[in-house]
Amino acid sequence: MPLLVLVAVAAGTQREPPFAAALADFREGRYEQARVKLQRLLVQNSRDAAALHLLGLVEASLHHADQARAYLETSVTLAPNQPTFAINLARFWIRQGKLDAAEEVLQASVAILPRPETYETLGLLRLQDDKPQQALGCFTKSLALAPDRVNARYYVGLTQQSLGQFDAALEAYEAVLLLAPSDFYAHLQSAKILLIRGNLTQALAHLRAAEQEEPSSASVHLYLSRVHLSTGDLDLALRAATRAVRLKPNDSLSHYQLSQVLARLGRMKEAKLERDLFEKYRKFSPANLPEIWQRQED
């Protein structure tokens, strides 16, 4: 179950041990234990916004949508100055497919307290809704509030990439890497564009950098395999694709890549098996947020 953004503990506030313990349980996936602890806290103070919010995240993780909604909404009402609460509620609505509700929460939040992360989330919402120009507007607002904000710069690049404006996207990712040289996503997206363009040496360099940051990323090995396949290094391509599949066995793209490599190696029966797995996992669509949210998820 993919995690929603964790609760941001109020700056300078040291929460009491029961809350910290509940937070630790949530992070470790011990949702029932987290719930019990939080409910005890709320018995003592039913208007504890942070506890309500965390309980909302717990219920969402347990697929209790109605309870999750109630807790998250109450926490936002009690703490309208907490942009993270609004963002989490918005993402909850997005998972439910209710983009209008998400929009409403985020707009209300920026009206009270314009924050770069809230504009970023609004921008991602626009991007998901296929409105890239409006998305760019939101990311620009985020950067106006925080010019060195890596996330917003990254999302600008992502938006330009979605428009096929690859030169602009590469520039945006370069700007991210100047601020954060080991930014995994900027390396990965740069690699993707360079791979499309056939700039394999540069793509490889970015993928190696991404691999250093996240050695267990299936995506990195998937794209490494594609680079090697393009250069004709079939053994390396096979190794990378196999690794991608091992790291993420239910990822359809990894199976597709492996099937392509096996076919090129003449191992047709195995290629067919991988194609079948590709088709199988392609049809299986977990209720995750689209890939554009991946950076926030992590």
């Binding site: 096929g164 791979l195 594609r226 359809s252 793209l253 597709y256 890549q257 076919a263 194609r275």
Partner: protein, 565 residues
Amino acid sequence: MTTIWMGFLILLGLKSVPADGERGNPFISVDPSGAGIEFRHFSGSTAVKELIEIMGSGVALLDYDGDGKLDIYFVNGASLPGLTKTDPTQYNRLYHNEGSFRFSDVTAKARVDGSGYGMGVACADYDNDSDTDIYVTQFGSNVLYRNNGNGTFTDVTAKAGVVTGGWSTSAAFIDVDRDGDLDLYVARYVDYHIGKGPYCGEREKGRASYCLPDLFPATHDVLYANNGDGTFRDVTATTGIGSVAGNSLGVSTGDIDSDGWPDIFVANDRTSNFLFHNKGDGTFEEVGVVSGIGYSADGLARAGMGVDIGDFDHDLQPDIVVSNFEGEGLALFKNLGELFFGDVAGEQRLHEATYPYVGFGVGWIDYDNDSWLDLLLVNGHVLDDIEEYKPHIHFAQPGLLFRNRFGRLSQVDSPPGDALASPRVSRGAAFGDLDNDGRLDVVVQHHNGPPEILRNVVQGENRSVLVTLRGTRSNYDAIGARVTATVGGKRQRFEVKSARSYLSHSDPRIHIGLGQTNKIENLVISWPSGREQTVSNLAAGQGYVIQESSRGFKSFPLRTQQVSH
């Protein structure tokens, strides 16, 4: 030594070099009305938004009367929901080429006005009686018009056994078994019923929209084998064509793996593309996905519409271009040999250039006669209200031209006012030399509007040759014949085919750009019958008709010679 028999004289007006490579495209738009063409496409648009309304129709360039000039046949839609042509403005139209870009409407005399909702067209001499017949695909049942040889046609669909049914799109004549007569491949779209589809759009706002094809079952295409007596038999199941189903739109054919047997490529809309590899034993194996051309590199089934096959990089392997939807980019599948392909559209920068557009008609054409196949693509969205959802995407879109220099493609600028620059809602496109001046022209079908005739007026010193092949043991049109031309010591590969682009049929003659070389040193023809024939020293600036023959040879002056063995 072979003699060359020229069936017609090519006018030389061949000072043709593009002005400056990538600045300014060489096409000018000929006013269709001024040319005598009053045709206007009719989609039968309704408030219900039936899916068929957005597909457009095809156009064919064919010499139906054998006078050496390409005539034009436009396919048209019909009224909905009845799917019948209720008004002469909805008829298909055949225009006779009078020369100098003047045409006359001969539809009534020819009796080819169509009946139902027309989609695509394929032309060839299916009965080997030396004249070109016409096959029109439709929604519901198709029509085969047999050319009577006197300016008229007869509807022989039922007798020939090629009615088909369902929703047919593109079609291709192809001699799959190399027995000397042309078989017929018919692509089909989804299983759709007019008036019975689901509601798509925002019902509460009263805004109907066109449904995605995903909502309807895919269907298999159909292959008919020619019995040699004017009739066909359905061999879909026995050949393996019926083993897969897709949302087929574009078709092209060619010997992809150079094993002597013609293969079939099908562009599918949101299902994987098909590559039917001809095994030479009466069966086909579908290898699209394993070959690397089924899906994008990201494993996505794109919305494939138009297709063309051509050797763009002079490695003597046929490569495949496919037009796709906005956000997907054009696909250029480079042939790596052994039935493997790699999409090089990205490194050619075609992917980015075509990203905002919905591509339909597409074709490899050496517009500047420099011997390198250039690429022309016409576009137009399918949603007439797209700008309300995506303000950066437009319903009407410009066409795109890419010049090929030594295997590198780069976009040719089309400033405002240029023919291709005007945003249109384009669909079918056919390529051919309408005025026999050695420069390839284009005819485009625009959705719910008059067509566009793009006359090629490229200037410079480059020259070309037009070759018509005539089979004797092979099918008369020589469809499936492979030609390798040696020009200036370098070899280029061509193939005669009946299907390319989107729903359309192009000039079947082989156009060979020579650059500034003054002759083709050798032309090696691999006929579908298996016969190999070599013709040497074809002078630039000429047209040739080369016949597959086993008797003697004659020698004639270059402008009036025929080649025979």
